[in-house]
């Protein structure tokens, strides 16, 4: 970095050789000069202004190039594509912080149902509380704290589970249940229509398993167990 700056600045240095000398001279005589100017005639005042202008100009070029150099140095670390935050479900430990750490309420992290992996079970670990006796849709049987999972009978013995993402708070309770008893078809992901893509994701900061990273926006989802072609992208 420093080297780059030096290289970029050196032509200016050569071009304005005297600037540095001037700088030093001016620094040394700075205070006394000021007093002098009080008594200065018009011409000397003009002279002084010229000198200051010249110094400013030199500094301006240097600073301009410095800003350019920082820009260029940052440019070498340019990401070739736009990046967004996403979490890797295979690293997720369902700690519940996705629900609490997001700057948005409710969180921009939502549960997604990867239907292709679902077993369509009657006794769904992601839908029912562990202690449930009767497998009914009664609220006290539901694991989800906001009742965001909808259970629908398909045919004996299959049930389909849909997630109402407006209600989902991203707490991962169902993800834990599905992972423990089922195939892991319920997965947490950052919902990109809702995510503000903060400079530093506040959930990433709090995530204990370091599951968050910046991923290319073109493949912004990290569903486990299905290929990118298997899910349907929805235009923003």
């Amino acid at each position: 970095m420093l080297f780059l700056t030096a290289v970029l600045i050196s032509p200016v240095r050569i071009a304005e050789k005297s600037t540095i000398v001037y700088c030093l001279k001016l620094l040394c005589t700075n205070t006394s000069n000021k007093l002098k100017t009080l008594k200065m005639t018009d011409s000397s005042k003009k002279n002084k202004l010229n000198r200051r202008d010249f110094l400013n100009k030199g500094l301006r070029y240097t600073v301009g190039l410095g800003i350019g150099a920082i820009g260029v140095a940052a440019w070498t670390k340019l990401s070739s594509q736009e990046m967004v935050w996403q979490l890797d479900p295979s690293k997720c430990r369902q700690c519940g912080r996705c629900a609490t750490s997001c700057v948005k309420t409710p969180s921009a992290v939502k549960c997604f149902h990867v239907y292709a992996l679902c077993g369509y079970c009657d006794l769904c670990g992601g839908y029912f509380r562990p202690e449930t006796k009767n497998l009914t849709t009664a609220a006290e049987n539901q694991l989800c704290p906001t009742n965001a999972i909808k259970r629908k009978f398909i045919e004996d013995p299959f049930f389909e589970y849909d997630i109402d993402q407006d209600l989902c708070i991203g707490c991962a309770k169902c993800v834990a249940g599905c992972g423990a008893f089922g195939n892991g078809s319920l997965q947490l992901q950052v919902h990109h229509k809702l995510c503000d893509n903060c400079n530093q994701c506040s959930i990433a900061r709090d995530c204990p398993s370091e599951a968050y990273s910046r991923v290319p926006a073109k493949s912004a989802y990290l569903f486990q167990g299905i290929e990118e072609k298997d899910y349907q992208k929805q235009k923003g």
């Binding site: 369902q94 700690c95 519940g96 912080r97 629900a99 609490t100 679902c118 077993g119 369509y120 079970c121 009657d122 006794l123 769904c124 670990g125 029912f128 562990p130 202690e131 449930t132 006796k133 497998l135 694991l143 704290p145 013995p157 707490c171 991962a172 309770k173 834990a176 249940g177 423990a180 008893f181 089922g182 195939n183």
Partner: protein, 320 residues
Amino acid sequence: MKQKIIIVSSVLLLLAALFFIGRDFFYEKNKNKENQYEYDLSNLKETDSSQICYREVSRILPESDNLYAIATDNKDRIYIAGNEKILVYESNGNLLETIELKEDASAIKISPDAKIYLAMNDHVEVLDSMGVLQDSWDSPNDKAIFTSIDASETDVFVADAGNKIVYHYNTQGELMNEIGRKDSLKGIPGFIIPSPFFDLAIGRDDELWVVNSGRHAFEAYDFTGSLISSWERTSMSIEGFSGCCNPTHMAILSNGSFVTSEKGLERVKIHLPSGDYDCLVAGPESFDEGTKGIDLAVDSKDRIILLDPYNGNVRIYEKL
């Protein structure tokens, strides 16, 4: 004067803001130590010690990165399928021999006439008692995932979780029958297999027991494929089978009782031939969280041999 008060209080407010930022950044660490949304299975994972009817007597630590399946023969030797090999142990846990394989075997069974039957994901291999390959049978269907195999002296049954069907072969490898296809006229409900665990075993009276895990059910078929009997127990508590698809494995004791293993709530239990829960072999505390696919075998003395694929050990249990 009024201005002065406003300025002083404004500056104080700014300093307070600075103080808040500094304190929040440096001292408020790990604010929420606990998971507010814990998926709490602790009640269900607690084991009532009075329920336990078996105790662990010894443990084998096979030298293999992964362990897949376990079986015993009529001399009570223990066969363990690991990475491209089978490890054969004496009943006291001494390693007898190692049989090299070309692939991993997902299930293993030693027939009464001492042939080694291996289910290899999508085909069956038959080895003689010395471990020499005798025969290999391909799967009749695509997308096969063979998960279990059992053999008598005349018949071989293979469970295919991919096609959710049981194949009935003779010992020459000819496909005799497909068992368990949904047929409402015959009262066969069809297998529901949401995860790749699908076990079967031949019972005492030459009936074939198949685990219909999606229904938490055991179904008995005769060798022609007719459903003779079935029972199911769905419950998160210890009386039944939990989750989407349990039990994952089973074995049959000499009195006709079933030894079952579950995932989700990792436990190994005994169910009576009627299906009613009898007692507990090993509770969730005996396994690591997330252990799936505890394979089971029973020897002639009704010892239970279980394979913990997560920690890579084999444990031998005896009745209390």
